[in-house]
């Protein structure tokens, strides 16, 4: 086998770990074998060429750019983490508003009440199947509508709205951050 075909031998030769005897054998072969001589000569030239090539440096302000991208990505992730909480809040709010609007309508269309109640129940059960929190809210609202106290419904709606806003602003971002970085 030609020495050049022996990857182990050539690697050791370039790493300078061959003993004198092996080096002499290789060099004797190179004097008589033109293809091997050419290839090893070019490999030597490559070694020199690569060793002269400097380490390229990144442009100025590289670290600042990395940090800017990091902060941008964190902000985006924060929004994505909060999104489910906002969605739950929006559904809750929608259910509250739907009942607030449906109640006067129910009074006006008293004769159609069984139909409206059934439709409302189907809608609310569908939502509640996805979000248990929403379902609990729906049940509470149903109870409130049953007593026909519109002031109580309005008070409940406003309280729910405030709680949701506080949740989205104060609690959800902390939960999202904790989830992302503490592996929670």
């Amino acid at each position: 086998m030609h020495p050049i075909e022996d990857g182990e031998l050539i690697s050791d030769y370039f790493d300078g770990v061959l003993d004198n005897g092996q080096v002499n054998l290789l060099e004797t072969h190179l004097r008589d074998c033109q293809p091997c001589w050419e290839e090893i000569t070019l490999m030597h030239r490559l070694d020199k060429l690569f060793s002269r090539a400097p380490m390229v440096m990144p442009p100025t302000g590289f670290a600042q750019k990395v940090l800017a991208r990091l902060e941008e990505r964190e902000a985006r992730r924060g929004v994505l983490r909060v999104l489910p909480f906002l969605l739950i809040g929006a559904l809750l709010l929608a259910s509250v508003l739907a009942f607030s609007l449906l109640d006067p309508l129910r009074v006006m269309l008293d004769g159609y009440m069984p139909l409206i109640s059934m439709g409302t129940k189907i809608l609310m059960d569908g939502v509640g199947a996805l979000f248990s929190l929403c379902r609990a809210s729906t049940t509470a609202l149903k109870a409130m509508v049953a007593v026909l106290d519109q002031r109580f419904v309005l008070l409940y709606s406003l309280t729910a709205l405030v709680v949701m806003l506080l949740w989205a602003r104060l609690v959800a971002p902390r939960l999202a951050y904790s989830y992302q970085y503490k592996g929670g």
Binding site: E39, R45, F50, M55, V56, M57, E71
Partner: protein
């Protein structure tokens, strides 16, 4: 000190992470540049590597050398980019880029420029896997064991891949002006 930066970065301290970036930016950028052959893409890739490092710091095993772990992430990211790029554009279609700006005399500058262009062309003739081994060996001075730690392969495989890469490069050089001149010079010295 580095352990402290790593721990604080994992806890979300951007200041500590900036120190890590400052320390390793040259090596990561250089690796990306030699692998990708394009300064703009290398900068983008190096930034992305550091973002990935930040997000994975909580999984970092402190028994492992940090630089090896970092190079592994950088290498995989750059090779992924090269594989994706293959589907879009032929590497040889890319125009040659200007190389590093270093304070040198005009003649030295021209020589260096030509050498950089030659190196770039030679590296581009290799597959991503061969290129990675060459870059880690020549520009980052890593041992076979360290390269094996980065690529997840055996030392023997790395050794034979480096030899194969050297042969491909030598063959590529043979057809070039630089290669012909090199052989002529060596013949004259015999």
């Amino acid at each position: 000190m580095e352990e402290d930066w790593i721990r604080r970065s994992a806890e979300g301290d951007h200041g500590a992470f900036a120190l890590l970036v400052e320390k390793y930016q040259g090596q990561v950028y250089s690796l990306a540049y030699r692998l990708l052959g394009d300064r703009g893409e290398a900068e983008d890739a190096a930034q992305e590597v550091f973002l990935r490092v930040y997000l994975r710091l909580k999984d970092y095993d402190s028994k492992r050398q940090f630089s090896t772990w970092l190079f592994a992430i950088a290498s995989h990211h750059c090779i992924d980019r090269l594989r994706r790029r293959r589907l879009v554009i032929s590497f040889e279609d890319l125009p040659p880029k200007r190389s590093v700006a270093v304070e040198r005399s005009p003649i030295e500058g021209v020589v260096l420029e030509e050498e950089q262009a030659e190196i770039r062309q030679l590296l581009l003739s290799l597959s991503p896997e061969h290129r990675l081994v060459v870059v880690l060996r020549y520009w980052h001075d890593l041992s076979y064991a360290e390269i094996a730690g980065i690529t997840g392969e055996g030392e023997g495989a790395i050794k034979s891949r480096l030899h194969r890469a050297r042969r491909i490069l030598a063959q590529g050089m043979k057809g070039s002006q630089v290669g012909r001149v090199a052989l002529e010079e060596e013949r004259c010295t015999l």
